[in-house]
Symmetry: C2
Subunit: 315 residues, 2 copies
């Protein structure tokens, strides 16, 4: 056993912070628009250059996301500073709303399993796909960039391990239709590193020209192990929500996203650059916790990181 | 990127359950001897073949471990069923007590950093090493097998990253003195997968004939990532404590061990055999929680695993 066997990790990683979208979408408290905008600005001030700020979905079904256009408007000045703002879209109407709101980056979301598609959107994958392709027409006519993201990409609580060939077929439909990036979501957080590795490697092999982002949850304490497995494969883009907020309302047993704070902690310990200022990021924790009205679940929410003076090594 | 890049993991892993030792040593409640013995039997009944059941340390300083000889006596009938019982020893007196108690397997423990050695035992590494070598004399004269385990093997909260050459020197002293296995502990749980990989790979290269066990804590949600990094290197022995109990009383910021339940969950998801019956293991959670008087912290303590029917995949 020599050091040659040690995995090589990327030098830098981009974090797409989804606090304002996945972090808030299942909260009982509907966080006011002004608070969301302040939180978004604070996340950007901490160095996060990619923020997912809402979803253009039915406001009656997901009232937490009803103000997505207003949140986007409030944060758009950050685009001049190089911050990219993302919103989710599931159909033509959502695409129209995104266009009206001046969105530049959209994530098209579809389930990779029939069971989750049915539970999440009461549709088959084919029906959901058809609606998304209508959204694509709309986005294209406005010159809006779009990524394709698949829920339950690795494992589905209803259908078990997600079939990789079906997943690739879904992704192919949308890369052919002009999607730029690919997002693979472990929506319920019940994937393990080996499974994440196998599926992600297969997707990377099929789509060498498309950046692949991973969206991981921490239901069973496997979140950081899944990140590590993905880093070994060269993945350089991860979703995360501050403090580990979040979860999927239409999937049983789902827990929070991997924490943006915990992810940054891991990446920095691995010597991987994120551009994030740890102290400014930590300062977002209290106002966020106050906004949702309860404590956060990331490990750094309860245990402070070892001070940097110690990290560097004492004499 | 092809599947050839995917890491290969071991087919089977041995878990050394340290619930009765590391799990209980910092609990405020002193769990009665009878309860410890019942818990140990339940863990063995769940298929755990390696149990760390106590420490022969100063009962005034660590009253939770004062009954180690009695606990060992109560569990020794399990040895006929192939269960190996471990206890910790730090000096000649501890070795004598272990011998008197009929111990067959002992872990000699020493800090790998001067800062932790001072805090943990008010001694330099050289002084602690001298005491351990006296213990070795005693153990040898009784034909007791012993492993050498180093605390803060990767990272020390006082001294920072542990020097690998110093670590290897310490380990060499005891393998030369007849230690069979090597245990590397992330005592405070602030190691990251890359660090665990580098140090473990160096130790494996130096000691190809000695089985290497890893003892990991889950302070920053990195526990399972560290397990995965170690599995990639071929490590097949891990310590864990049921429900994620435990911590080090002499190290700031230490949180619980990785949960035996969470570890088994990860390993089984990876298709790695442990010999553990998941349902019988889960049945230990309630009596353990009752014995310590509070809830447990492993993820499975609060979120049930996906039922196996679903894990196998629906139609």
């Amino acid at each position: 056993m020599t050091n040659a066997a040690l995995p090589t990790l990327p030098a830098a990683v981009e974090i797409l912070d989804t606090t304002l979208r996945d972090g808030l979408q299942i909260e009982k408290t509907i966080v006011p628009t002004g608070s969301k905008i302040r939180l978004g600005r604070a996340l950007a001030a901490a160095g996060l250059k990619h923020l997912e700020v809402g979803a253009f979905v039915n406001p009656k079904k997901v009232p937490q996301m009803a103000d997505t256009a207003e949140v986007l408007a409030g944060l758009q000045p950050l685009e001049a500073e190089g911050v990219e703002l993302y919103t989710l879209v599931f159909n033509r109407k959502g695409a129209q709303r995104a266009a009206d709101a001046g969105a530049r980056n959209v994530k098209l979301v579809i389930s990779a399993s029939e069971g989750h598609s049915k539970a999440n959107s009461d549709s088959s994958i084919a029906q959901a796909s058809e609606r998304l392709l209508e959204a694509v027409d709309e986005l294209r006519s406005h010159g809006i960039r779009y990524d394709i993201a698949t829920a339950v990409s690795f494992y589905c609580p209803f259908d078990g391990v997600t079939d990789v060939d079906s997943l690739i077929e879904i992704l192919r439909t949308f890369t052919t239709a002009g999607a730029r990036g690919i997002g693979l979501a472990d929506t319920v957080g019940n994937s393990n590193p080996g499974l994440v590795s196998r599926t992600t490697a297969a997707v990377l092999a099929e789509f060498p020209e498309h950046p692949v982002n991973l969206h991981l949850h921490d239901t069973y304490n496997f979140g950081m192990a899944n990140v590590f497995a993905a880093l070994i494969l060269g993945i350089t883009s991860f979703d995360a929500a501050m403090g580990g907020l979040g979860g999927c309302p239409f999937a049983p047993g789902a827990a929070g996203n991997i924490g943006t704070d915990d992810l940054v902690h891991l990446l920095h310990k691995e010597g991987i650059e994120t551009g994030v200022d740890v102290e400014q990021l930590a300062a977002v924790r209290d106002p966020l916790s106050e906004a949702v009205g309860h404590g956060l679940t990331s490990s750094l929410s309860s245990i402070p990181a070892v001070p940097s003076a110690v990290v560097r090594g004492a004499a």
